[in-house]
Symmetry: C3
Subunit: 572 residues, 3 copies
């Protein structure tokens, strides 16, 4: 019975001892009859004694911190260890050189392919310490210009001993470079934002340490820009609306918020641009993520918001060309996204429907509003029409809650506030196009209002949901509803509408402020505003059992569980 070995070693040992002395690693010392590779030892022991029973294809031996799990060398077994193997190859050079002396070349070759140190398990309290000499290659597959050069140099140097490493690295790279299919996202992730790894999945990036900042910086971050820039519009409206004159709100809040929003957008855009440059693979994976892709509308919508919120002191009339520039990427994205809905496959609407799809709709109405503000006519109606058609489709689909909507959260969730966004912006857009807050504008407004109330009375459903950066995107619908209410108040001015305006504005400002405090706490106190972005680190294929096991091990604190689970599995 052929066996493949998973070997687990304490890295710190690596640094203290020479490779020859490491037990259970690829380095083999043939000095004595007692083969120093305990694995070989163990297997031969077992095999010679004939003690290995047919039923148990898993043997677990532990000797001096070394855990060896032998697996049948099935084709799937061959993939073992492709994930995290790049670690200590440099150190092993002499080991590999030793291998040339291997009196059992066949065995050695087998080992070369099969046994690689895949799991860096912390034993006891000892931390994994990476020597500075060893560059961390684990994030290479996500880097735009990574490793390639180094590998070429290595190849030029002609080190045959690194072949196995490079080979494995290549297959590793291959696994990552091609972004996972959309079904993999559904299979591997869960939660309303598809951002939590399922228990049976493993991440292609290390889960036990913080990733580079850029890798952790998601496109959701543009949600903050949405939240702040929409607040800027709200305060501009409060300032300029005659119906709200009695509040005597000056132009300052708008001005401050606008500059703040501008700074935010510039900062977030800059950082995300860096991500695009340095981690294009990660961006690609965000783009293929069925929920995350909708956030790619966010930067453009934020810019539209900025154009809408521009303080009168800076500019009164914006040039229409800005509108054309901003609407182009939105239009392109829509052609892409709506086309995917319709043209089937794994991204068809009955599969991907999620409240965050509203982000891909609302851009139409915001664009229509801005265009109408600028005095354009046909363009705004075009986007209004496109938005309307797809909003009906999305509204019905989301309300139906088809059983195939895998990502629709079981319970209500802040993401549902996106329901309010489209109709509240649509009513303003129509009012501006039509030049009057007429019945056709009031219908979407009242729909937005009803949805708002419907969600507000269910607000206790939202308790107990952990904070996420994406929440920012869920605040702008509230702000949008407030602005729409103010516009409505301008058409129907009475005590009720005025109170409603003040009330909704207060709620939205309060929400944004609260979220800001939360964000600051998470960013600077808890320092976990940008956790590892697991969504982009899923494997391209369903992980093999061995990987799941490895994942399980690395996450389980008690090896007893593992032992028992292994022994349990080995019975099958």
């Amino acid at each position: 019975m052929e066996k493949t070995e998973l070997q687990v070693e304490i890295p710190s040992v690596l640094k203290q001892t020479s490779c020859q002395n490491i037990k259970g690693f690829d380095c083999v010392d043939y000095g004595n009859g007692n083969n120093p590779n305990p694995l070989e030892n163990a297997i031969s022991d077992i095999e010679s004694r004939g003690e290995s029973t047919a039923g148990s294809n898993m043997t677990r031996l532990e000797r001096k911190d070394v855990i060896i799990i032998s697996l049948p060398a099935s084709p799937s077994g061959l993939h073992i260890g492709q994930t995290k193997l790049v670690l200590h190859s440099e150190k092993c050079k002499n080991t590999d050189q030793n291998n040339t002396k291997n009196p059992y070349p066949q065995l050695a070759k087998q080992k070369k392919f099969h046994s690689q140190p895949i799991l860096v398990r912390e034993n006891g309290d000892r931390k994994v310490v990476h020597s500075e000499a060893v560059r961390d290659h684990r994030f290479d597959p996500f880097k735009t210009w990574s490793g390639k050069l180094e590998r070429q140099i290595s190849n030029l140097r002609g080190k045959p001993t690194q072949e196995a490493d490079i080979e494995a690295g290549a297959s590793d790279r291959e696994e990552i470079e091609e972004a996972p299919g959309v079904d993999r996202y559904f299979d591997a992730l869960e939660g309303p934002e598809l951002d939590t790894l399922r228990a049976t999945e493993v991440s292609v990036l290390p889960e036990d340490e913080k990733w580079p900042f850029l890798l952790r910086f998601p496109v959701n971050a543009f949600g903050i820009c949405l939240g702040v820039s929409s607040q800027a519009i709200l305060w501009k409206t409060l300032n300029t609306s005659p119906a709200m004159n009695f509040l005597h709100i000056g132009p300052m809040p708008n001005l401050i918020l606008w500059w703040a929003a501008l700074a935010l957008i510039l900062f977030v855009s800059f950082v995300y641009l860096l991500k695009i440059v340095f981690y294009f693979e990660a961006v690609k994976r965000e783009y293929y993520h069925p929920v995350r892709v909708n956030f790619f509308f966010a930067p453009w919508i934020a810019c539209l918001f900025m154009a809408l919120a521009v303080p009168p002191s800076i500019a009164v009339n914006l040039r229409p060309f800005i509108w054309y520039i901003l609407m182009t990427p939105i239009f392109m994205l829509e052609l892409k996204i709506y086309g995917q809905w319709m043209s089937g496959g794994q991204r068809r609407l009955s599969k991907v429907a999620n409240p965050s799809n509203h982000l891909s709709i609302v851009g139409n109405f915001v664009g229509a509003l801005l265009g109408a503000n600028m005095g354009l006519k046909e363009g705004p109606i075009f986007f209004f029409a496109v938005g309307l058609a797809h909003y009906i489709v999305l509204f019905v689909t989301l309300y139906q809650r088809l059983p195939t909507n895998a990502t629709l959260p079981k319970e209500l969730h802040p993401v549902f506030f996106l329901f309010v966004a489209a109709p509240s912006v649509a009513c303003m857009a129509w009012a501006k196009i039509q030049g009057d807050f007429d019945y056709a504008a009031r219908i979407p407004y009242f729909i937005a209002l009803f949805l708002y109330m419907s969600l507000a009375v269910r607000v206790n459903f939202f308790r107990g949901i952990r904070f996420s950066l994406a929440w920012w995107a869920y605040t702008f619908p509230m702000t949008g509803a407030s602005i729409a209410t103010i516009k409505y108040t301008m058409a129907v001015t009475n005590i009720v509408t005025r109170s409603l305006s003040i009330c909704l504005s207060a709620i939205s400002t309060f929400t944004v402020s609260t979220l800001l405090v939360y964000t600051i706490i998470h960013a600077f106190v808890l320092r976990d505003l940008f956790p590892n972005d697991i969504s982009i680190a899923i494997t391209r294929k369903k992980p093999k059992f061995s990987k799941m096991l490895a994942h399980f091990r690395s996450s389980s604190s008690d090896s007893k569980d593992l032992d028992s689970s292994i022994s349990k599995n080995s019975e099958f």
Copy 2:
């Protein structure tokens, strides 16, 4: 092999003999060789002779009207009889005292827990006669103030012998008090109105006799009010519409119908109020019923109809505050119902979609119509907008006939006429809001007309469906279409529209009259207008096999079937 016993006894025997003499009851007399309890007999016989085979866990013996089914005392077996056991405990006191003399205490103890008289089976023609001394406790769980007081008194008296009874009663009560989940309704009931018990289900209330009137009085009864009050509107419209002047219809029909409708509403409301007071549990179960819940809109819609139909001789202009009062409960219910559609779970729209959902939509349009009639502006548009949004969702969902719409009838059914209701009222509402029967009003009107025709040509599909009180609710859409046609005739007056008005009015009046005759026949001749309302009597959990069996027995008239089915089952 442990056995649990289901014992079936004729209650009348109970009253004539002392407990010791009751066969098949908990009281066991070990005095003579002819053990009066045939169950014990049977079991001991079988056990002593060792004849019970492992495969057959069901033995059926019948002796002197007593049917005993022995079941394995599995955990599920322990639940047997928790439903209807409260019957004759008082009578059994001495029995229990006798039990203390039981020479086989172990057996007695087992019996105490396991064997309770659960099924009162009528043997032959003999009727179940309840002595006045024995209050019928079977409906207690549905009563608002039931049994609690009595039980407290019993406890005060300190009768330890009643403990088992109380305990069991508590678990019984527990089972009923928590209303069944919505999935239970789908699992346990069938038919387009989810009002028929599936074959595999048992009712928690006795199916073989008439329940108290209030328990049988469903919320559907408000459908009659809808039917009659909408007729009042029709005749008011026929009277007042200039386009229909040529018919010379006076104000009397409207007046009579209005007073009749008022009387009906008051009566039905009063009776239902009694039900709320005395059988709150039953009302709760109606409210949780996924189809029935829509009928909770009916009383308010009927009131709106009354306000619309108010004869000019009584009032010309109603005060707007009436509108606010009437719309509040509708608004509250909508927040609840639409929220359930959206927020998922078992009540999501793709699961509960049923034409009766139109009742929850149509209130919006009726409210909008009344409000516009009263001269209100924003309120009506609000409800019109809410109605429109949700009508589109519902219309698409119902037209699609998703496979998950468990309650959607396979064939057409009168309930489909509710499709006509919303657009026909919507067109009137919009015409009133807009002040003109414009194109926007004609579109819903023509949709209603097409749906009407589409259903009318399929009218033969309706044959062979048994009469139900809910049918009343399906007449008002026809009346609504007639009224809308008259309104349309006022806009487009010609021979075709006039003929159509007369035709549709005649059909709707004829339908209502026919239904009235049917209802009177069922109410006073057949006396089955209010059959047992099985929909509210489903068990909270899937019934165990034993209960199904019991149900099967009580419904099967021929014990031969049972015998064969038992023997068949016992083979497995």
Copy 3:
């Protein structure tokens, strides 16, 4: 163990040899020990020796071109061969007479019922040659007046030997006469137009030769009329539209196209009328086909197009009665089709949704447009309203791509261009009804434009799809979009809209021209414009294994495959 026999014979042999000498046919020669019928041999062998093992219910013997498959004579086995048996009965008379000499009458009787020559397998290169004396009965079941008379004559002649034939023919006829259920269409066919037989299905008509022309002439042919007549409208619009004056397009293209379209419509109608007369069964099956049924709208829509495209030189104002005549069949079909969507069963919308359903919607808008052109008011709004309601339903359903939409193609397909049809015609209809290309008209126009663009950018998806007559129906939406653009250009005249008009018109004309060339090539060069219309030739019930086998055989060129598959099957 009873056995049924499938016998396969080379027909040409039948004609050359006397029946007695035919091996493997019903005629049995008991003269020599070497029984020439290996089947009888095998059976008698098996039966006499009682050696038939339970596990293998398939024995395969081949001797001298004869393949015999023995199957258990289960009730399903009795149906074997009911499909194609009518072939050579006349020839067998003497065989049957010989059978009277059969020393084993019981066996002979069994044979009479069980073994019929069902498969006309070509052996090697030899072609199936039908003698002129033998009328081809295979298409009889689809003929309106077929065989009945002949059979009656045969019966009068009193030929008892034909009984088996007639009997089998009757059951054959029975199988065909009742059109297959809609689920059969879904089960048996595949492809976006449900026009390809699945591998496991057999055709009731011979697949290996060309059917009569009328049987191959599908209702899709009216698509050509749609394509040409819509072009006539386009060139009329280009001629008459003031905004397009600068192109100086004369009235001739419209005139020529109109007359061409008229000729086409008359020709196609005439041929299809012949089909209705002579092959009513085939028409019925087209009507029951869930995708094909939508094409029954095509002739009427084509007539509406003709009325819209009528050259000013022929008539300026058409009489409204034409509109009423043309709309009646459309209205009737709609009552039928939409009713099926709603009333459930296998034709419910969530099951049959397919872009070709747009054909059943677009008639409403074309009718509304024509009616409004004629100066009618209420009729057009009626159809506009009906179209709008059902378009929303269909649009949402198609966009959602429910998993139950069995017929929705996986990839994009020309059929998707039908998405563009309804909104582009709707905008013109509304503009005409309203008397102005207002915002309400622009919204559907822009929706159409977006959908057009969305499909255009995916045009490479269309590659590699084989040509089909149905493509013609997918060209008129492009033409419709062009016309709508010209109408829009009349409202908003500038360089962009003019360019767009020219561009879209050019594309649509180019597409139609290309398609025309393709059609001519297929019609006159390749002579495969009308291939066998497999869609109508599916069996009413799921084919039995034996039939599938037979189908498999007839289609497989290598009998080795069959051998192995049979032997493989026999192992189970």
